[in-house]
Symmetry: none
């Protein structure tokens, strides 16, 4: 049997069943396991499949980068996410909210970081899946079309059953007086549940949102333990927040 032919067979099997065992293929094609191992390694090198311990899996599943390079103030959000990374240590259990700032945090997680991440955001979950050492747990529930996050009673109930070290959340509006507020009532309910399930809550917000408010209240400002903006912590724009017991980064 030709090498090329064998590799085609391997590829087809992987595409067909999504995953294969090297031993199965070796037996089926009646060649040594080493040969299959070399074939798979080569196909992996050509990005035709992904080699894993003991077998191979199809790329169809793993390669999907929902690159949206149309994010407002991406630079600032990236800065914020970078600062947030400093809070993370191996073994931490965290919750990551939806929104582009939190998505940026997910994107910038170092590949070697060992985490357990809860999220109710589909894009965040997708992004986290690319991090080999991150365990991703999706909080289910009805999914909002606009925010692409699970909301509603079910999501809130699921959140009530978990406890995390840190919650990283975004907000629609934030004000040193009025706290965190939102345009949407359902979102507020979920965010309340998120804050409740966290030992410490970290707010990620670009400075543009400071001193703004809206209809529905998520929480008082001192429900937040750490607030991260793209500004230097000493920036005078942050002065109104210094009266409260908040760590500024």
């Amino acid at each position: 049997m030709l090498k090329e032919e064998r590799q085609q067979t391997i590829l087809s099997e992987v595409e067909l069943h999504n995953r294969i065992l090297l031993t199965d293929i070796a037996e089926a094609l009646d060649v040594s396991i080493d040969t299959i191992r070399r074939d798979v390694k080569e196909l992996d090198g050509d990005h035709k499949l992904r080699k894993v311990h003991g077998g191979a899996i199809s790329l169809g599943f793993t390669t999907n980068s929902t690159r949206n390079n149309n994010i407002y103030r991406l630079e600032d959000k990236s800065t914020i996410a970078q600062k947030a990374l400093a809070l993370l240590k191996d073994g931490a259990v965290i919750f990551v909210d939806g929104g582009t700032t939190c998505l940026e945090l997910a994107r910038l997680l170092p590949t070697e970081l060992d985490l357990t991440c809860f999220t109710h955001s589909l894009p965040v979950a997708m992004e986290l899946l690319t991090k080999p050492n991150v365990t991703v747990i999706m909080v289910g529930g009805q999914v909002s079309k606009e925010s692409q996050t699970a909301i509603g009673a079910n999501a809130i109930h699921n959140l009530s059953e978990i406890k995390v070290d840190y919650s990283f959340i975004g907000t629609g509006y934030v004000d040193s007086q009025y706290g965190l507020t939102e345009f949407d009532w359902d979102i507020v309910q979920v965010k309340k549940a998120v804050i409740k399930c966290a030992k410490k809550t970290v707010l990620l917000s670009i400075s543009e949102k400071l001193n703004s408010q809206h209809r529905y209240k998520t929480c008082e400002i001192n429900a937040i333990n750490t607030m991260i903006t793209e500004l230097h912590p000493e920036n005078k724009l942050l002065n109104p927040f210094r009266e409260h017991d908040i760590r500024l980064l």
Copy 2:
């Protein structure tokens, strides 16, 4: 024997069997291996076939595998999804499994169709969000990196609390004798729960998977109410399934 004539023979052999061994051809035509090697090299130069170590393979064989889109057998899967659409009526409550065939079903849902869709697959959920009249409910749980679906005890528990009209599921392997089987134990557990929560279960599978099996069993074949392949329902490949109480589409 003329050189032209010999090269024609080589070409037709390649077309016929998709591949040839240089040694076989040399012996059959009673010329030295060097001659065949030169012929094949020349034909490769003319893009009539592809030369590989030890032989040659037809171009069709390779272009077939050079997937321009990375979904294997997308055409067939699309056909299957089209057929599945016929089962759906406004107001239905369904579950959609992970996998590329089910993803294709989600993709092809008409925008005007009014549905409630449960899913444990992140890509399917994302796709369903683009359908204005579909209510999407994500079944949460730990998310598998390979399949990008929620699995594990939590997902199974969540599934135990819902009841849907139809479950559309895929499978790794299906056989009329051995039923539906999978490579992965965790996936089997989830699929069992999916079948349990559905009044009727619809299996979507390309015909290439028929008569294949693997280690872990999801269910007997008669746990499936409807099986949809890309084949015509009267196709003889489906005969083994006619003995069971399955509707074929």
